[in-house]
Symmetry: C2
Subunit: 153 residues, 2 copies
DNA sequence: AGTTACCTTGACGTGCGCGTTAACGTTGCT
DNA sequence: AGCAACGTTAACGCGCACGTCAAGGTAACT
């Protein structure tokens, strides 16, 4: 079960294609500490796991949707590590108290992100409203001043 | 009525401050054709009108909220000119038919912008949902694994 | 007339986010 | 063993969106 429909690991070529990014960009993100170094095959080729791919996608979202700088994103996604650690060390409860603290921090960060999203969406809604108003003004103008042309619709 | 509460015209210093941008940025936008050259006083100082300020704010919104490049924005706000023309030549109906066509184009552009906003907000909502899910996972983890610490709340 | 604050136009510098090229190693197939 | 496809690092380059001087003009007040 390795190539049925989802190669468990992807080389950089396919990884880049699926993520809609360039290979250069993936290496750059790794270089900047946004991606933890992926596992490599013997020859040194990078192998991206599903978790890696997930993370890459989050980076893209944060960048394209919210317009954060890579530096910002780096800080933000450090909370993602906690998630992965949860999965990984699910039972090796080395230090429950400390992990709880980490999770709390991750929770905080996530809440902040939600807050940012809400703020932004609110502003976007406001903008949407003014644009909609503008449309109405155009329409009334067209109806009042050039109704003949509208008859054709 | 020129300095009661809202100097009809602002020099670049105040303009920049009110818009939360630098003077350099305003000049840069002008240089790039995003702002039509503001009127000047005798000495050559720039004087920004209310319309100018409005436009500057739209540019900021398009940039910060939606993350467009200045080149993109330049194209997008050319529809704003139509609005101003409507106000200015409200009665000098030089060529109603042609103006109607311009307004139609402006309407189209505005509709596209609304579409973009909607798309983006949809994606942001999706992101919000996954983040909210994540919060829930954190919470259940905390309740299951470290409920003692939660008691303190 | 002098001072201070504000403005002007260049022109060069800068950080980010990659693109691109060069020189070279690896994989997999035949 | 050879070839094509894919990968590697290192280094330089680039466009965007300004920041930052430098050298000088203007406004307003005293």
């Amino acid at each position: 079960m390795d190539d049925a429909q989802g190669h468990a690991y992807l080389q950089i070529g396919e990884a880049a294609e699926r993520a809609q990014l360039t290979q250069r960009t993936l290496r750059y993100y790794e270089e900047k500490g946004l991606l933890n170094p992926p596992t490599r095959m013997d020859g040194g080729f990078r192998l991206y796991s599903a978790d890696d791919m997930e993370r890459i996608d989050r980076i893209r979202q944060l960048k394209e949707l919210l317009g954060f700088s890579l530096a910002d994103i780096k800080e933000m996604i450090e909370s993602d590590d906690v998630r992965l650690q949860i999965r990984a060390e699910w039972r090796s409860d080395a230090d429950t108290a400390e992990k709880a603290e980490q999770i709390r921090r991750a929770r905080e960060v996530t809440l902040q992100q939600i807050g940012l999203l809400d703020q932004k969406m609110q502003k976007m809604n406001a903008m949407r409203d003014t644009l909609a108003e503008r449309i109405e003004k155009y329409d009334t103008w067209l109806l009042e001043r050039a109704p003949a042309l509208e008859a054709g619709r």
